[in-house]
Every structure is written in C-alpha cells, then in structure tokens.
Symmetry: C2
Subunit: 149 residues, 2 copies
Amino acid sequence: MKDADRLREARAIVNELLVDIFNRILAIESESLKDKGVKLSMSEIHVLEAITKTDEPTMTNIANKLGITVGSLTVSVNTLFQKGFVSRERDPEDRRKVIIGILPKAEEVLEKHNDFHNEMINSIFNDLKLEEDELLISSLRKLSSYFKQ
Amino acid sequence: MKDADRLREARAIVNELLVDIFNRILAIESESLKDKGVKLSMSEIHVLEAITKTDEPTMTNIANKLGITVGSLTVSVNTLFQKGFVSRERDPEDRRKVIIGILPKAEEVLEKHNDFHNEMINSIFNDLKLEEDELLISSLRKLSSYFKQ
DNA sequence: AGAATAGTTTTGAAGTTCAAAGTATTTGAA
DNA sequence: TTCAAATACTTTGAACTTCAAAACTATTCT
C-alpha cells in the first residue's frame, strides 16, 4: 500500500472514531450518572464543571467556557441555585458582576462525574507508554486550538 | 518531575482537551455550515450523515448509530422528508422496515459538511509523521471501544 | 447628572429528546 | 393453521436546552 493511501485511511479512521465518540459520549455519561443516583441532567453537570474550571466564575466567563449564551446559562443557573447546588453573589469590586460558586451538594455530584472521566482517561492511557503521551496530547491540542482559532 | 506526576499531568491535559473540544465542536460546526448557506440544524446534518454510514439504513439501525431512540429519529426524519432531503420506502422483503435514502439535495449539504471534517482532520495530521498515526488511531480506538463496551 | 457601557435576567419561540401508547407486519408455537 | 408474542415504526405529550431580543441594574465616562 502506498504512503498516500495509508494516510488517507488513517484520516478516515480518525474521523470516524471522533464522530462515533461524539455520538455516544453524552448518552453514556448520563447513564453513568443515573446509575450513581445523580438527578441532574448532563447540561447541568457541565455547568457545574465549567464553574469549577473558570478562573473568575462570572456569568459571562462561564458562558464563554461552555460556548453558550449568557441567557441560556442564567436559565440553568436559576434551577441549580433553587435546588441548592450553587451560590450566587455580586462581586464587591464590580457590582455588575455575579460570581457563581459551587456548594457541597454539587461537589459530591462532581466527584461522581469525575469518576467517569477518570475511567475514560484510564482506558486510553492504560497501555500507552510514557513517551507516547506527548504525541496524543499534541494531537488533541492541535484539534482544540483549531476550534479556538 | 517523577514519572507518576508526569502521567497525572498528561491525563489532566487530555481530559481538559476532550472537554474543551466537546464544548465547542457543535457550535463551530454549525457556524461553519451557516456560513456556507446550509439551512439545516446540526442534529439534522448528523442524521443525514448517519444514514450514509449505516449498512442497512432502517430506522432502528440509524437510531442505533446515532445513539437516540427510534421515536426521536422519526420526528427528525419527518421534517427531512418533508423538506425533500431524504426518501422513505418500505422494505419489500419485510414490510415493517422503512429504508431511508439520501436525495441529491442532501448530498450537496453533506459535501459541505465533509469539508469541515476534512479541515478538522487536516489540522491534526498536518505535521504528524506517518508512523505516528498508528498511535493516535489506537488511542481513539480504545476510547471508542470503551464507549461501546 | 445624563449618556454610554457592561453584566445579567426575563421572555418567547424553536428544536431535540424521551417515554408511552398505538399501528402494522412477521414469527413461531400450539 | 392460527393467534399471541415479538419486531419495526409512528404519534403524542412533556421536559429540557438553547437562542435572540428586550428589559433591567450597576458602573463608568463626559
């Protein structure tokens, strides 16, 4: 087989795998949480996750992290606030901003969600050698930066 | 830095990148299509894509490929049929089955969608060496098989 | 103070999805 | 053979997510 053919095949496989993963990940993730007795929807989980991973967790910053509008985020935060998963307070420095915080009830849930992510990452890393990690990381980094261009 | 630390760091990065990609891919994909004058939503595009990639494209098989219920697929196919993107006909061998087909109007759209996927894949492969492909593929394959467990 | 700006919330509409109930067809066991 | 169960699909109603636009509040600028 020629190199060009091999490359074409490799691309096709990577593409197919990405599509497959994309199509299944949400459903499986949500099932995994249901099994663990978590009542929240996946989008609510992702909001909680984004809050913990946003440096200055204002509405605008969190919405950017998630790639949704601030209006959509407000709707979601409303119910999370009402259910007692997050706190909300004005920034004393700039009282236009609302800082969102995670409450203990949410930390529990995020821990269970993390288990899922860890299992997922395990399944990739299990029999990779250390020096091979770099390549995987650089591939994904390229993909991610392509999306942020 | 110890190997264990390096591994922990690698996992964290891979996880973060996957989450990032997941959060952005849909929005960007949909914007890319809007730029190209395509009127369909992403989920409609994914239905079309799944039809072309399912061996015997019955409702059940396509729904499985997509990871949604057959009922949901029916709703989507209803509008795609009405807009003239897909054909629908009973399987003469087993008249319970409905075989879905892609019409020319849909092929045009899928071509544009493919451009997006190709650009995406390009951005990963651009400066990978041939022998490195295998590793990337095997990593993704593991991830994908983990989801199909 | 008044106008402009920034951050957030509210609202209405559209789209996606599921679960449950209903229809049509096929299969298989009595 | 016949009819009950299984299979394939569609319909329906409800819940959820999201967006765009308008409204509101707080802050900054002139």
